[in-house]
Symmetry: C2
Subunit: 336 residues, 2 copies
Amino acid sequence: MVTSRDVARVAGVAQSTVSYVLSGKRPTSEETRKKVEAAIGQLTYHPNAGARALASRRTRVIGLVIPFIRDLHMNSIMEFISVIATTARSHDYDILLVTEDEGADGIRRVVGQQICDGLILMQVEGEDARVPVVRDLKVPVVLIGIPQDPAGLVCIDADFEMAGRLCVHELSAAGHTRIAVLGWPAEVVKRPINYVNRFLAGVTRAARDCRVGLLELPGGTDRASVARSVRQGVDQTGPVPAFIAPDSGAQELVQQALFSQGLTPGVDVSVIGSTLAVVAERQLVPLTTIDLKPAAVSARAVEILCGLLEAAEYDVNEVLELIPPAIERRASVVGT
Amino acid sequence: MVTSRDVARVAGVAQSTVSYVLSGKRPTSEETRKKVEAAIGQLTYHPNAGARALASRRTRVIGLVIPFIRDLHMNSIMEFISVIATTARSHDYDILLVTEDEGADGIRRVVGQQICDGLILMQVEGEDARVPVVRDLKVPVVLIGIPQDPAGLVCIDADFEMAGRLCVHELSAAGHTRIAVLGWPAEVVKRPINYVNRFLAGVTRAARDCRVGLLELPGGTDRASVARSVRQGVDQTGPVPAFIAPDSGAQELVQQALFSQGLTPGVDVSVIGSTLAVVAERQLVPLTTIDLKPAAVSARAVEILCGLLEAAEYDVNEVLELIPPAIERRASVVGT
DNA sequence: TTGAAAGCGTTACCAC
DNA sequence: GTGGTAACGCTTTCAA
């Protein structure tokens, strides 16, 4: 392995000078910098990460705690990871995976071993076992998702409350006076996942503000239960309501259920969806969608953490940042 | 930070003894081991990863080169990552992410900086830009997927050839004499992805062996083109053929297309699928499926790499290991 | 503007 | 079976 000593020898300077040229932490003459850079290129020198971490007490690695695979929203998780890794690299950080099934010990281990400088927690839920662990860690941590008690923590998430409001306002503006909102599947709802509540709170509040009638229907991931809910909404007395399908998995099923009721979304009935996932629209009639911007959320999480890591002091103030969703009109929403 | 010196002081032994107790690289008396372990527990000591890497020239980190997000098979990618991370941990290794968009430089960087001891490359294609880079790296590398020229490389993948054969044999045994096989979508086929060819080679060979007629139909990810292909298969003169739907994304569409032709899979027509993905079966009539065992493939990749890492010598012999798929009969396949 | 040298916290060799 | 100590390759302080 080629070391900074080799570079120094070739460049005819001291080893420390090589270090300073690389870090820029002290001024160097144009001449020596050239010499050092030439030597580095010639020898294809890469500073040894372990030695650097040992001496500088900084690893330039971020630990990413990924959720245990639970077959829900796996593709969205992949997008998060991909964006996080890329954004981290643009700040000269690497990503180390910590699987959730390692639990609290896993988190304490990577911090204890000083394998990474900080942590990002993905998919933080209302009552998350990881939260108490990270709360009194002496490294900066950024949570994606808002736990029940975010006091003293740095959290970021999509603004689900706003997403709910946008859905209702969009439909109301199109002339709808009755809206049916499908719930999330039971697997999601039974755990205390805050974004569900935040979304529904937004919907409820906007419905009140816009004076539209609200019908909450059970959600599901299977064709039968979604079809049942849709039928229930259609069978109400009065005009056919507009539908809000907040879970990406259900959107396609909603379409199909409506079609089989003789209703064409975007023509006879309005449907609006909001999703964290890169929903595969290929099979769908394009519709208005609320984009919760998972990429923006992930990128911002990294930016925030890198900011904390570069800062001199770690005495972090509580942060709660919500990324506003974008509304994507891919087809006009019609009135009933 | 608590160091091994602190542990040594508390335990009343030499620092080197602490190291040896941890590594087990030399015999220790029961008594001192107890003392050291007690001190470690009491102080919650974690060995510093950087110092350890520097001194031992081993990081106990595996670099995982993940494919650039291309919206195809993202959930299967997530399963791979999850299993790889978990398996690596069970061998006391951590996973560092290297995104494919960092390219050759990214790979050379992590190896050069000695951030990791070895590499796993996911989703290796026929002509893969990463292959020439890793070919002459002085760290062990395991490829998931078989490149055009696997000479001198350690490769592992699902046995797609066998999967193709199994599909045909299964249908032939059920009495079918005509089989229609849907291709992969153009996005997949236009790149030289070897597994597609391997699967089709298996199908072709088995069709010849079993003397069944073979009809190759274009694949697709949209409802229209899949429906067109299915109709084409059904409209042939003679009995309705059995269908092979190798791509997970198309399976659901095939079902729907058959239904709308008045054919019920498993009753009027046979369909067999093989998939790398955790296919969402929720909307499907359960059918016979070829399970390509992505988890087994990923776990084995890690096992192989760990084996190479623990071995004294790195002079790796070429390896090409194929994991046989499992056939899952979730409904009987009927004859035409 | 630059060089010399003292750590950083391990591992592993050499004595005993 | 155990202790002392020289690396490992870098960062950073102190002198010049």
